[in-house]
C-alpha cells in the first residue's frame, strides 16, 4: 500500500481529507511515527485486510447508479464488503459454487472517453478482488436491470447487449473465454431456464427461449404464443422465479406464469389479477423500480403498490402487498413510512423481505411471512437500485 493516494474515477465519492487520512491507514502512520520513538514501549498495531465470510441465504447485494455493489448480511444489517463495478454495471452474476462474482462492465481509457473496453471481470467471492477478466464485444447494454447477466447452464454466462440492436454474448466461465454473440432481435435479457437455455421477453408479446449446445453456441430457439399486448398492457420486464418457471406481472396487475418444458413447449398460464374491483376503483397500481418478489418455499408473492393514474408504473410504492400464491389472496400489507422503489426476498424457508429505495438508499428488512419490520440498513449505496440474493437467489 502506498502512502500517496491516487485519484480514481469515483473521486466524487471520496474527495475528503478524512477519507485520504483513513485510506493512508495504520501502516503509513506507523512508518511515520517510528523514527520519533513513539512505539518504544508499545507494540504498534498493523493494519490487515479482511476476507469475506461464506454467504448465507440472508445475505444480499444491492447495486445502484454511481454507487457500486454492496454486500450485506440482512440478519445483522452489517455490510460485508463492496465490489468494484463500472459506471454502466447494473447487475452481477453470483456463482457461489465456483466462489466467484462476475461483473460485466464497460470502461473508457480516459474515464468517460477514450478507448472503450467491455469485460466480464471475475471477482473472488472471498477476497472480493478481481482475479481474471474476459473481454467481450463492446455492446454491453447500458440499461439498469438485474437480468443483464445470468447463468446459462452450469458452465456459461449470458450477457445482454444493446447497441440498440439486441443480442447476448456467451462466456465460458470454466475456461474463462468468450464464446459467441447470439442475435436476439426484438427480445431482451437473460432469464435462465433448465438445461443450457435462457428465456427472453419480446416486444411482440411473446417470450423466446434460446438453447446452447455443449460448446456454448446456439442450437435452437422457440417462441411462445403471444400472450400480452405491449401497447395495451405490457408485462414488467422484471420476472421472478418460481422453481423452473418465471412469474410475470403486467402494468394492470395481471399475473402470468411461464413454464418452459424440456422440449419446445412453452406454457403460459391463464392470468389472474392482484387487484379486486374495489382496488381498481381506489386507483391501486403496481409500480416502482423492481416491483415484485417471490419466495417459493413460503409461496408468497410480494408487490410494490401505490395509488395513481395511467403511466405511473415507475412511481415509488407506498405499500407492499403479500399474496398467498396458491389461494391468490392477499395475506397482509405493509404501509411504508416513505415511498420506496424495489423489492427482493431471500430464497430460503425462513424468508426475509427486502424493501429498497430513498436517497441515500436504504433497505428495510422484514419477516416475509409475518410482514414484521426487523431492521433497516441505512446508507446502502448512494442511489437505490435492485437487490440480488445469495444461496439460491435469482
Amino acid at each position: 500500500m502506498s502512502c500517496k493516494p491516487s485519484l480514481s474515477s469515483t473521486a466524487i465519492l471520496v474527495r475528503t481529507r478524512l477519507f485520504w487520512i483513513l485510506r493512508a491507514g495504520s501502516l503509513c502512520l506507523a512508518a511515520l511515527l517510528a523514527p520519533f520513538g513513539y512505539a518504544a514501549d508499545l507494540e504498534p498495531e498493523l493494519g490487515s485486510i479482511e476476507t469475506m465470510a461464506t454467504p448465507d441465504p440472508h445475505w444480499l447485494l444491492t447495486i445502484g447508479f454511481l454507487g457500486g455493489a454492496y454486500i450485506w448480511d440482512a440478519q445483522t444489517g452489517e455490510m460485508q464488503g463492496k465490489l468494484n463495478v463500472s459506471d454502466y454495471t447494473s447487475a452481477v452474476g453470483i456463482d457461489e459454487d465456483r466462489g466467484m462474482i462476475y461483473v460485466p462492465g464497460s470502461f473508457y481509457s480516459r474515464g468517460t472517453y477514450g478507448d472503450r473496453t467491455d469485460v466480464l471481470v471475475f471477482n473472488d467471492l472471498s477476497s472480493l478482488a478481481p482475479v481474471a477478466e474476459v473481454e467481450v464485444p463492446k455492446k454491453l447494454a447500458a440499461v439498469f436491470h438485474r437480468a443483464v447477466i445470468n447463468p446459462v447452464g452450469s458452465r456459461y454466462v449470458g450477457l445482454y447487449n444493446m447497441t440498440p440492436a439486441m443480442s447476448v454474448s456467451i462466456v465460458d466461465v470454466e475456461k474463462r473465454e468468450y464464446i459467441d454473440e447470439i442475435s436476439t432481435a426484438g427480445c431482451a435479457f437473460v432469464y435462465p431456464v433448465s438445461g443450457r437455455r435462457f428465456m427472453q421477453l419480446c416486444g411482440d408479446g411473446t417470450v423466446q427461449v434460446v438453447s446452447l449446445d455443449r460448446n456454448g453456441r446456439e442450437n435452437g430457439r422457440v417462441r411462445s404464443r403471444k400472450f400480452f399486448d405491449v401497447e395495451e398492457d405490457p408485462v414488467f420486464d422484471f420476472a421472478v422465479p418460481n422453481g423452473d418457471a418465471w412469474i410475470l406481472i403486467s402494468f394492470a396487475g395481471l399475473v402470468y406464469e411461464v413454464t418452459v418444458g424440456d422440449g419446445d413447449d412453452i406454457d403460459i398460464s391463464e392470468p389472474w389479477s392482484i387487484l379486486t374491483d374495489a382496488d381498481v376503483e381506489a386507483g391501486w397500481r403496481i409500480g416502482g423500480g423492481d416491483p415484485m418478489a417471490f419466495n417459493a418455499e413460503a409461496g408468497v408473492l410480494f408487490t410494490m403498490m401505490h395509488q395513481g393514474g395511467p403511466d405511473t408504473h415507475e412511481d415509488d410504492g407506498t405499500h407492499v402487498w403479500a399474496f398467498d400464491y396458491s389461494t391468490r389472496n392477499r395475506g397482509y400489507e405493509i404501509e411504508l413510512p416513505a415511498p420506496m422503489s424495489s423489492l427482493g426476498v431471500s430464497q430460503d424457508d425462513a424468508p426475509l423481505l427486502y424493501i429498497t429505495g430513498g436517497f441515500p438508499n436504504s433497505v428495510a428488512v422484514h419477516d416475509a411471512v409475518t410482514g414484521r419490520h426487523l431492521r433497516t440498513i441505512e446508507e446502502a449505496g448512494m442511489f437505490g437500485g435492485h437487490v440480488q440474493t445469495f444461496s439460491g437467489g435469482r
Binding site: 454502466y88 440499461v143 436491470h145 405490457p234 415507475e314 442511489f383
Partner: protein, 178 residues
C-alpha cells in the same frame, strides 16, 4: 460522510421551478437516467414518420421555462436538462457530443394548441450533469420494447456512451398525438 452526502444531495437536488423530479427519485428507481420515447436511428428515418414538417421549427410560438420539467417540450423527457448544464434546451454543453440516435415524443404546445414531434437527443462523453433531472413516464414501455422505453441510455452512435444531459428539439408538427 454526512457532509459529503448533504453536499451531493444538494448538488443533485438542484431543483428547477415547478414540477421538477429530483435525481434521487429517478435513479433510485429503475434507470441510470430515465428516458422515454420512440427510437429514431438517424435522420433518414424521419420521413417515415406520420408527421407534417413545419416550415421552420425554430419559429414555433412558445412560452415557458426550459429549465423547468414542466416545459411543454419535455412531455416525454427523461434525464438531465441540458439547459441547466451549460447548454440550452436545443444545444449540448461544451465538450460533449450530440447523439445521432434519439427517441421522440409528441407534445402539445399550449400556445398554439398544436402537437409537435420532439426529438430528445442525448449529449454524451462526460459524466452525468446531475442537475435538473426530469422524468416522465407517459407512454413508457418496458426495455424489451426499446422504442418506447425510458430506461435505456441513448448515447448510441457517439464516441463515448457516457451520458451527460439531454436536449429537446422540435422536429415538425405532428399530424396526430401519439
Amino acid at each position: 460522510m454526512e457532509n459529503l452526502t448533504k453536499r451531493l444531495s444538494s448538488l443533485l437536488d438542484a431543483s428547477v421551478a415547478g414540477g421538477t423530479r429530483t435525481l434521487a427519485r429517478t435513479v433510485s428507481r429503475r434507470g441510470f437516467i430515465g428516458r422515454l420515447g420512440t427510437l429514431l436511428v438517424g435522420a433518414g428515418f424521419f420521413p417515415l414518420l406520420p408527421v407534417a414538417r413545419a416550415a421552420n421549427a425554430a419559429e414555433v410560438p412558445e412560452l415557458g421555462d426550459p429549465q423547468s420539467c414542466d416545459y411543454w417540450r419535455y412531455c416525454a423527457f427523461g434525464g438531465n436538462l441540458c439547459s441547466c448544464c451549460g447548454g440550452t434546451h436545443t444545444s449540448c454543453p461544451p465538450g460533449t457530443e450530440l447523439s445521432p440516435v434519439t427517441w421522440v415524443g409528441t407534445c402539445q404546445n399550449p400556445v398554439d394548441g398544436k402537437h409537435y414531434l420532439i426529438s430528445y437527443n442525448d449529449c454524451c462523453g462526460k459524466s452525468p450533469c446531475g442537475r435538473c433531472n426530469c422524468h416522465r413516464t407517459e407512454g413508457d414501455k418496458p426495455i424489451y420494447y426499446p422504442s418506447k422505453s425510458n430506461n435505456i441510455l441513448w448515447c448510441f452512435g457517439t464516441q463515448s456512451h457516457s451520458y451527460h444531459c439531454t436536449v429537446a428539439l422540435v422536429l415538425s408538427e405532428a399530424s396526430e398525438p401519439g
